[in-house]
Amino acid sequence: MTQAPERVSPPVEPPVVDSGPVVGRPVDRVDGTAKTSGQARYSAEFPYPDITHAALVHADVARGRITTIDSADAEAVDGVLAVITHRNAPKMAEAPKVSLLDLSTMAAGTRVNYLNTDEVHWNGQPVAVVVAETLDAAHAAARLVRVQYEALPAVTDFAAAQGDTKPAKGGMMGAGEAKKGDAEAALATAPVSVDATYTTPPQNHNAIEPHATTAFWDGDELTVHDATQSIDWVRKHLAIRFKVPAAGIRVVATYVGGGFGGKGSVWAGTLLAVLAARVTKRPVRMALTREAVFRTVGGRAPTVQRVALGAGHDGLLTALVHTGVSAVGRTGGNAEPVGSQSQHLYAARSVLIQHRTTELDMLPNTFMRAPGEAVGSFALESAVDELAVELAIDPVELRTRNEPERSPTDGKRFSRQNLARVYADGAERFGWAARDPKPRSMRDGRRLLGWGVATAFHMPIQLPADVSVRLSADGTVLVRSSFHEIGVGAATAQAQITADALGVPLDAVTVEHGDSDQPPAPMAGGSGQTASLAAAVLQACDRIKREALALAGKAPGSPLHGLRPADLRATGGGLFRADVPAGAEHAGETYADILARAGRDHLEARTGSDNRFRSAVGQARFMAGFLNDRRKWVRAAIGAHFCEVAVDEDTGEVRVTRWVGVFDVGRVVNAKTAASQLRGGVVMGIGAALGEETLLDPRTGRIMNPGLGEYHLPVHADVPRIDVSYLDEPDPTAPLGILGIGEVSIVGVAAAVANAVHHATGVRVRDLPVTLDRLL
């Protein structure tokens, strides 16, 4: 075990906030009733009196040029309004060059200028859009559009393309390469070592709500209801592509039915709905079929990874090599930074981390829940398990022995360091001590039982967020920000944070979100939305409290007269002296009393700026601060997964029968939704472990299982009871101590399952998914 870390002092002054009674509680979702009763509207559900419906026609060659399009039969279908192809589509501007000064330049899922080109860049690229009075007519007519291609040579076989790779450019979420010492040399001389290749297949997000867009133009003003995790990106990107001012574009995404990163970028469906609305001068609804989502929205790239570990007989790592090749599209996509967690997780004396890519003529990949770590952890955590077997050291013990004091690659300090603790907690909850390490040593009738562990690790991001908070004289509060409710309980969390920050009851707070008319919020990604918003909400609430105090302070009769913010706590719907017991006479007063005396009907504070220049400066300042912060700290959410699998000795069928996950995610805002989200990550990880694989035919580049029948997500019967717990201690470097929980829990899941399968059967599966044929 490593020594306890030195105490970490917070780098910033804690905000003026009373950690009140609502944050942390298992509060019901504020929109639960709206959702379960069908009142909550999703992007395909906004009614317009003269709505039209659009359907896509997809290319069925991987690369080529369109030679002819015959749309006569399609146009003849009753109710068809337009068949839009590259021959008649209005021009769109090209996607902008990516610039770090404006993150929205990363919005384009691909560089293809849809329907503005005769070029086909992947099998499934949209080559025509049919708009009709009914959904059925649109789909029927789409089948009748006949397209001929001149096929061109295409590279569509990831396995065969391994000989043609190049260094990754940057990589998703900024994870780069790392080198410390001579890891290969250390590996060669290590007393004990493992060195193996692991592969992971392409995967797709499969959010329950397929992508949908409803678009309507009024002159040059545009309203778009879009299933997006990134309202601000959609707005700015559409402004560029359609050459209109962003100020005239309103993007609404009140509710989104899951994203997992698949709704982070702007994909063809959104662009072409807007284009079709421009052509038809009618509101257009483009509700993608599940197949169309597979064919037009990128997924997780396939990877081939090498992990090599060298250690002494004491288990301390002397070498850690983690390299990966992932596929990108020729028209976009980024490297999967599979070695991301390997830079920080274990105290290796020498480290080599490299990411390479190979370009395929396929739909570019995109972010998918924990890009990098989700599949990188499969390789790393499998290899650690293999090393534990070689060393005959318990895999929990091996990991805790290698918990670093500082990040091994860059010497940065950790804002929190609880790997040993979460493993200890998990081991106890799971009953790990009873494990016989010998493979095939435990059984239940004809089923072989295996227990496995793996580490979860994810570094949440933080982005600038603008909010407005309005406190009315009647004691109610309205919070507005164009953040995204993608199913995680974001509005509920911000209502809780606001209620505590102002000291008002939860039901006094209303949160409005998902509309670009509100102050701009960052994308829901990188596990950063809750903390990013919390920082802004706390700042706005702080200003309101200061203004309330200033108003009260001017009144000689106020019990707050002459007091400073530090003397007060927000509670009971007002401001009260912190040094006097609650309820004491003359200890403070309510906002209602303060505002009534001052003759004000409300107080309002807004963070950020409406002014474009000031907003840009603010964002630059924020990013500088954030990056500076990142230079100082490794701020990561972590966890320990423990699982049991049962493997049928006859058939090789693997079922996960037990799960314990213990996490350190900083402060938890809502015990109920947080547990759900952590549990959901485990479920998604079980899918990656045992079933999920997008079948891309290497001969044609075509996805052959674009539906939920043959893309095997876990069903209820595949998922055991999942015991989720967390330390619930605020991170001293994060807003309100919140680290972000959206991604961490998927990381390590597949490895935990594969490690348990090895324990059960003695078979080491290094290729996902772990299907039964690999165990026969």
Partner: protein
């Protein structure tokens, strides 16, 4: 989905006349397969004859202890029928292992038998498929064929029949009753589906104008000790990689009667006559079970993506028989 004529048939006579009058007509029972395929442009019927209102919904006991099942009985209802559960557990288990609760509530017995393969290249209208477009080739042979056949396949087609229920019915010696304008005829279930040969587009022995009206399951002593074992890639809502329907009657440690059928391995529910031959009269031991399984799979041919199913089928046969031996108290 392309436009089509819609006819609602209130009775058998109207239904058979309608499909006789309209070449290219398709029968609509529960719609769980046909409607999907129409959306995917794989099925393009000119006329859809809706028979969901035809009164073929009885499950009747026959005097000899057998069962007569109307073609429009929903899968979930048949699975829950007390006689099925008591006398033909293999059938109830097979039904409940198929699809999902919602689909079983819609799917009919006749439709289940006539459902199409789930071969990835059959359901993608852009792929080459001899079943969908005779003479176009078979993209599955050199592509993804995890679900593909290892028994009775040909170079022209390696599709499998996806039904679970049909595998149990094949083991139970069921007979299908068929009606057309020419009258009524009876077809043994094991002869209903065809192997692909060089005409994989001809999937059954039925003429295009014939309607399945009922399935009869004869009484059987072995059926009381019967079981359906389905091996698949997830715990539910997946088609069988391999399935085994087996019924066995063990007397004094020897196999007095046995029926075995395999699913997921061929274009039809595969009655394992070779295995039955080895088992009948032999001792009910693990070694004999293995010998029987080897005999049945002796002619199996795999491709890179489905070769594992040959060994999987052997193992699943042995495991199912072993379990039945235990359940039958003959261990």
């Amino acid at each position: 989905m392309r436009p089509f004529e819609y006819v609602s048939a209130p009775d058998v006579a109207t239904a058979v006349r309608a499909i006789s009058d309209a070449p290219g007509a398709k029968l609509l029972g529960g719609g769980t397969n046909l409607v999907d395929l129409m959306r995917q442009d794989v099925e393009r019927p000119t006329t859809v004859v809706d028979i969901s209102g035809v009164p073929l919904t009885g499950v009747d006991e026959l005097p000899d202890g057998g069962l007569r099942i109307g073609a429009l009985v929903r899968n979930s209802r048949l699975a829950a029928h007390p006689v099925v559960r008591a006398r033909f557990p293999v059938l109830a288990q097979a039904l409940l292992s198929g699809a999902s609760g919602q689909l079983r509530n819609m799917a009919t017995v006749g439709g289940n038998l006539l459902q199409r393969t789930r071969c990835l290249y059959f359901v993608d209208a852009s792929a080459a498929c001899n079943k969908r477009e005779p003479g176009s080739g078979c993209d599955a042979v050199g592509g993804f064929h995890r679900g593909g056949a290892v028994l009775g396949a040909s170079e022209h087609c390696i599709a499998t029949h996806p039904s679970d229920m049909a595998v149990a019915l094949a083991a139970l010696d069921a007979v299908v009753e068929v009606e057309s304008v020419r009258g009524t005829r009876r077809v043994p279930l094991v002869e209903l589906h065809r192997l692909p040969g060089d005409t994989p587009h001809r999937e059954t022995e039925l003429e295009p104008d014939e309607l399945i009206t009922a399935v009869e399951v004869p009484a059987s002593t072995a059926a009381a000790t019967s079981r359906y074992r389905k091996v698949r890639d997830r715990a539910s809502f997946a088609f069988a990689l391999v399935s085994v329907a087996a019924a066995i009657d063990v007397q004094d440690g020897a196999v007095a009667a046995v029926r075995i059928a395999l699913g997921g391995v061929a274009a039809k529910p595969w009655r394992a006559y070779e295995a039955e031959r080895v088992l009948t009269g032999a001792r009910a031991t693990e070694a004999v079970f293995r010998e029987a399984a080897e005999a049945e799979l002796a002619g199996a041919v795999g491709l890179p993506g489905n070769e594992f199913k040959i060994e999987l089928a052997r193992r699943t046969i042995v495991a199912t028989l072993r379990q039945l031996r235990v359940e039958g108290g003959a261990a």
